[in-house]
């Protein structure tokens, strides 16, 4: 029976060695196993030298064999691909800046790829003409109602003007529309749109960008008298009726009794033109048809000087040689651009920042150690670089969020950008400051290994809070959990060279 147990134990011991050998790289396994089996033989001889089989001896042999696992682990670790660069990067300033740079690049790349952002960007880059006014009769109670007759418009257009150098006219009426390209709604009432018949020069005068234009670019003003009239969809109608389909340019729709071709989409919100127009028809006959409409005029330099407020009274000659009392209302209702929104939201976030975190950088030191000006410069440069990378990251990510989806209305997109920018700036700056406070002033690596020191209820302790250490062995950071009059803010404890032995092998060079 004893011989059987001895045989079973030896088999088990060999099994342990074999199992451990699996951790050793194949090229070194044979020699490693040979050494351990040789040693095992001697251990077995030594343990059984007292004579006979004993559990105590077998336990010693098994303990010896168990030691093969740490040894095999050494080989396994040595055989693993080394990551010295990665290890050196852990928590380093360079790693932080690389991540922020990658985020900014990803945000920018996404902004280049998302069609909604691309469309908005092209819109921002094309400025609407300044110095435009809407002219209406002074007696009108609301600028939403048309008041100017086409004859009056024609008389102004014919005469040489001192204050205006361009006029455009449009009138709005409801007309049935049948989208042949993509019937979107089965509701017959929904197929009645507000159609604006405008003088061909309207978009030229406005300088309003028309996006998603026909693949073959056309001159809207020159082509207005062509066989198939060109129409411009409003952005609202484009999204509502065609699901923001970018392939809509060039399609034809039936507008009333005639067929028209969609030339593009006019962005909403660029100018607050009254009328709630769904589709613009550039039609030379618009200024001859009966009814009243709206007149948009462009101010000369002299007219701009006279336009000292957003709404001024003007007097004009009427077609019957009388005088008309009119109002000129500035069409400067352009929505703020994304840069303006970003700056505004960023400013708000700066104001709100002290409410959620302390703006101190926690530079206080326990001992009278004073870092060199070069290191302080390095620290401030790192802080500036973080903020410089954070700002474009938030800007592009907020653009991606707000304008990435073309189905979001422009006003909602602006609110979304405002909100995302504010949140991003607020919490981003909070992170920047917190991260800065936890960076070793010597090597700029993040302090790690937090340890709780003391208990807050035991006030006899000098301080209680969290202690973190720089893995480079340069500093310890003490953060009080309960600020007191003698320990209110975090402090750095600079370690001298006598501490180096604790950090042997992990000490990165100080920059």
């Amino acid at each position: 029976m004893s011989a059987f147990f001895r045989w079973a134990h030896r088999l088990f011991d060999l099994g342990l060695l074999r199992s451990a050998s699996l951790l050793v790289p194949a090229g070194q396994r044979t020699e490693w196993l040979r050494e351990w089996r040789g040693e095992l033989w001697h251990v077995q001889q030594a343990c059984s030298a007292d004579g006979g089989h004993s559990w105590q001896a077998e336990r010693q042999v098994m303990a010896f064999c168990a030691g093969a696992f740490p040894d095999a682990l050494c080989f396994w670790r040595a055989g693993r691909p080394q990551r010295p660069a990665g290890a050196a990067m852990d928590g380093s300033a360079r790693q932080c800046l690389l991540i922020l740079g990658a985020l900014a690049a990803a945000g920018y790349g996404l902004a280049l790829l998302l069609p909604g952002v691309c469309a908005e960007r092209s819109l921002w880059q094309r400025k609407v003409n300044p110095n435009l006014v809407l002219i209406e009769h002074a007696g009108s109670d609301s600028s939403q109602h048309p008041t100017i007759a086409p004859g009056q418009f024609r008389s102004w257009e014919r005469r040489k003007q001192q204050y205006f150098d361009g006029f455009a006219f449009y009138r709005v009426e409801r007309q049935p529309v049948e989208p042949e390209f993509q019937p979107a709604s089965a509701n017959p009432e929904a197929n009645t749109w507000r159609v604006a018949h405008a003088s061909p020069n309207l978009f030229t005068l406005l300088g309003l960008p028309v996006r998603l234009t026909d693949p073959d670019p056309v001159d809207l003003e020159a082509d207005a008298s062509g066989d198939v009239p060109q129409v411009i969809l409003s952005e609202t109608a484009w999204k509502r009726e065609f699901g923001a389909d970018a392939r809509i340019a060039g399609a034809t729709i039936r507008l009333g009794a005639r067929q028209v071709k969609i030339a593009g989409v006019a962005p909403d919100g660029s100018l607050a033109l009254p009328g709630g127009v769904d589709v613009w028809v550039l039609d030379p006959e618009a200024v001859r048809a009966p009814g009243v409409g709206y007149v948009v005029a462009h101010l000369t330099a002299l007219g701009k000087e006279e336009m000292w407020t957003t709404c001024v009274h003007i007097t004009a000659n009427a077609p019957n040689d009388g005088e008309d009392d009119l109002l000129a209302i500035a069409l400067d209702a352009r929505k703020p651009g994304p840069e303006t929104l970003f700056l505004f939201a960023g400013f708000l976030a700066l104001l709100a920042l002290p409410a959620i975190t302390t703006v101190s950088l926690g530079e206080a030191s326990v001992n009278p150690h004073r870092t060199s000006w070069l290191k302080r410069l390095h620290r401030w440069s790192f802080l500036s670089a973080k903020i410089a990378l954070l700002v474009p990251t938030i800007y592009f990510v907020s653009l991606d969020l707000a304008y990435g989806c073309t189905l979001i209305a422009p006003e909602q997109a602006a609110y979304l950008q405002l909100l995302s920018t504010f949140s991003g700036c607020l919490f981003g700056l909070r992170w920047v400051l917190k991260d800065q406070r936890q960076r070793c002033p010597v090597c700029m690596r993040t302090v790690t290994h937090p340890a709780q020191v003391g208990v807050a209820s035991r006030t006899f302790l000098d301080w209680n809070g969290t202690e973190m250490m720089c893995m480079g062995g340069h500093t310890l950071l003490h953060v009080p959990s309960l600020p007191t009059s003698w320990f209110s803010a975090q402090r750095w404890l600079y370690l001298d060279t006598s501490w180096n032995f604790l950090f042997a092998g992990s000490t990165p060079p100080a920059p």
Binding site: E35, W41, V43, G67, A68, D71, L73
Partner: protein, 110 residues
């Protein structure tokens, strides 16, 4: 792969210094070092790997004929290198009890 030998002033852990001292005292294979120092196999062998990696010790297989003559498997013997001897000298100054724990005379008596 070229290895950079440790400088004589390299600071060793107590375990590593103990193993160097045991080798210098004539305990030249793993099990004998275990017996002499009282350290477990899981400590001694990995430490010897590191010492060998740092060129402080060097290993050599016993000749098969000798092992065959004694009807046992061959052993792997370890010995100090020049760098190892210098490091051991420095360690003896750092750990004065090292020589008392493993006197080199003992090896001569065995």
């Amino acid at each position: 792969m070229a290895r950079e030998a440790k400088q004589p002033d390299t600071k060793l852990s107590h375990t590593a210094a103990l193993i160097l001292q045991a080798l210098d005292a004539g305990f030249v294979y793993g099990f004998s070092i275990m017996e002499m120092t009282g350290l477990p196999s899981g400590t001694v062998y990995p430490a010897m790997r590191r010492l060998e990696r740092d060129d402080l010790i060097r290993s050599q297989w016993e000749k098969q004929s000798i092992a065959d003559a004694e009807q046992r498997p061959p052993r792997k013997y370890y010995r100090l290198t020049a760098a190892g001897k210098s490091t051991l000298e420095a360690s003896r100054k750092r750990y004065p009890l090292l020589v008392r724990l493993i006197p080199t005379e003992e090896a001569k008596q065995v």
